[in-house]
């Protein structure tokens, strides 16, 4: 995937553009812009609806509020933050997500380095097993893990989801880090070894600093995965410790409990999206690299 960054010479582009008939260009732009609209309008519509008074949301479409008289309000946000405890749920989501991102990345970095640069029996067999674990559905682990966590007396606690998310996130994290670290130049490690650096020094001083781009991709990935997760928190925190529930579970419960007052859902949904959208838009490059690195080898 090195070719993609090379700019096409501008003359070649000009020739390409000239050669294409004007009608074709028109359809090209129409389709691309049409698709962009179809993909953006649902989110924009929700965003606009979240600032409209309840009576408006119930009686007219969001597009009618684009024309004056403008009547926007923060009432929906105030309501979900105060009445539905979404403020607390937001903090819970942060409490769940940050350790659930830090721990697996660290644990995977050690393992990834060992798989990339150390020799040991059954190395390949174990790594192939990890590649297999990449696709295990969480559903096939829920009951035994819940029993384990309950047996340890931590179901309902943040610790339960930190540990579970670490376990579930590890296969992808190890896979990505091992592939990246394995691609680092061998000479660097050899000369460090000749200079007397042990594996720990090589790891902390060379491998880890050189892997910062992939660690960043991985951290963003895991952050979004955990922040957006419904299933793990729904099962392992559960209804008994509702004060620990993250936003996804609280908002999913609102869908059925709000009944006729669905306009509050707009603000609730947007609050859950705000942080992942900000992270994504700011760090899109790393996110894309994580996806392409995980699926096809670059």
């Amino acid at each position: 995937m090195t070719a993609r960054t090379e700019p096409i010479p501008s003359t070649a582009v000009a020739v390409r553009r000239e050669a294409r008939p004007r009608l074709g260009r028109f359809f090209l732009h129409a389709i691309v812009i049409g698709l962009m609209l179809v993909w953006l309008v649902p989110t924009v519509g929700l965003f606009i609806n979240s600032f409209r008074p309840a009576s408006d949301v119930a009686s007219t479409g969001w597009w009618t509020s684009l024309l004056p008289p403008w009547d926007f309000t923060l009432a929906n946000y105030e309501h979900v933050l105060n009445q539905n405890n979404l403020g607390d749920a937001f903090i819970n989501s942060l409490f769940i997500t940050i350790p659930s991102t830090v721990i697996p990345v660290m644990v995977a970095a050690f393992a990834g380095y060992a798989f990339a640069w150390m020799q040991f029996p059954y190395k390949n067999a174990i790594f192939v097993a990890i590649v297999g674990l990449l696709v295990i559905p969480l559903q096939s682990t829920l009951i035994p893990v819940l029993k384990l966590l309950a047996g340890a007396g931590i179901s309902g606690e943040f610790l339960a989801v930190w540990l579970a998310h670490t376990g579930y996130g590890l296969p992808f994290a190890i896979y990505l880090l091992r592939n990246y670290m394995g691609g680092l130049p061998r000479e660097v490690f050899e000369s460090a070894s000749i200079d007397g650096a042990g594996p720990a020094t090589s790891f902390f001083r060379l491998a880890l600093p050189m892997s910062v781009p992939v660690v960043a991709s991985l951290a963003i990935f895991q952050f979004l995965f955990v922040w957006n997760d419904l299933l793990v928190s729904l099962i392992y925190i559960g209804p008994t410790r509702s004060e620990n529930l993250p936003m996804t579970v609280v908002v999913a419960n609102l869908v059925s409990s709000l009944g006729g007052e669905t306009h509050f859902l707009t603000a609730a949904a947007f609050l859950t999206m705000a942080l992942p959208l900000a992270v994504f838009l700011a760090l899109q490059r790393y996110f894309v690299r994580g996806i392409t690195g995980g699926a096809v080898k670059g």
């Binding site: 479409g61 350790p99 050690f110 393992a111 380095y113 295990i136 590890l170 979004l224 859950t272 699926a295």
Partner: protein, 325 residues
Amino acid sequence: MDERLITAAIVVFGVPAALVGYILATERLILALPERRQVRIRPWFWIAPALAFLIVFLIYPTINTLVLSFMDKASKSFVGLENYAWFFGDSGTLEALRNSVLWVVFMTAGVVALGLLVAILVDRVRYEPLAKTAIFIPLAISFVAAAIIWKFMYEFRPPGVEQTGTINAVVGLAGLGPVDWIRERSFLTDNFALIFIGIWMWTGFAMVILSAGLKSISTELLEAARVDGANEWQVFRGIILPLLTPTIFVVGTTIVITALKSFDIVWVLTNGAFGTDVIARKMVFEMFTVQHFGHASAVAIVLLVAIIPFMAVNIRRFREQEAIR
């Protein structure tokens, strides 16, 4: 609140410090050993934390679920294949199974086709980064948020009343509808309305990977074909498609697995009603709501068995990549 903040701080700084301490401490221990044994024993210390997590949270539970699928409701006594007999004899589970097949076929086809279309089209416009971001955004949000976004898109008001849902308003402009998209009780409308949410979310994923694949095709090759008089369709069929086939395959398997595993959209929007249940939701429902661990485990194992062929494909592809490494 304060107490939780302290706990979180301890975890965020303490756990990495403990892990670094673990490696440095084991390194000390290892250095006390004779050199030949150092090299043999060191890797196991480095992978031990990861292996412990994988065994406790993935390997042991999956094996245990298989065992539980042969046990009764409370996992007390052995019932043989009774839970599987229930699965393949119950109209509700069979409906969920049919819908999961619909999800797999149509979400995968939709995501791959649209992802490929977008990847090829945006390659030819100057606002490519902007267009890609627009298509990509839904991948960053949760299934729960996406479900709510589309709940408002599919909003239905009886005929004669002003439509508040975007889709029914557009359909109304054409003089059609309105349609109660997710509660129509016709399994095609209901399921496809939900599946489309999945397509909307995951097209960006396919687009990003296919676009990277597309850009690795040499422009000289494409220009040469065009100079030789090939039209755009011939360039696509003759060059782009064959070269992208392995990448399309990678994307396809990922989407198949995503479609099989995703339960959130159905959980939030219909909770399995109106003929829209899927096996991933059925498992959570049997476990969480009904609390029949035998049934729930059997559903989980059916889901796992459906995924195993794709696991095998992944492993084979990994081995091939390693061979050329």
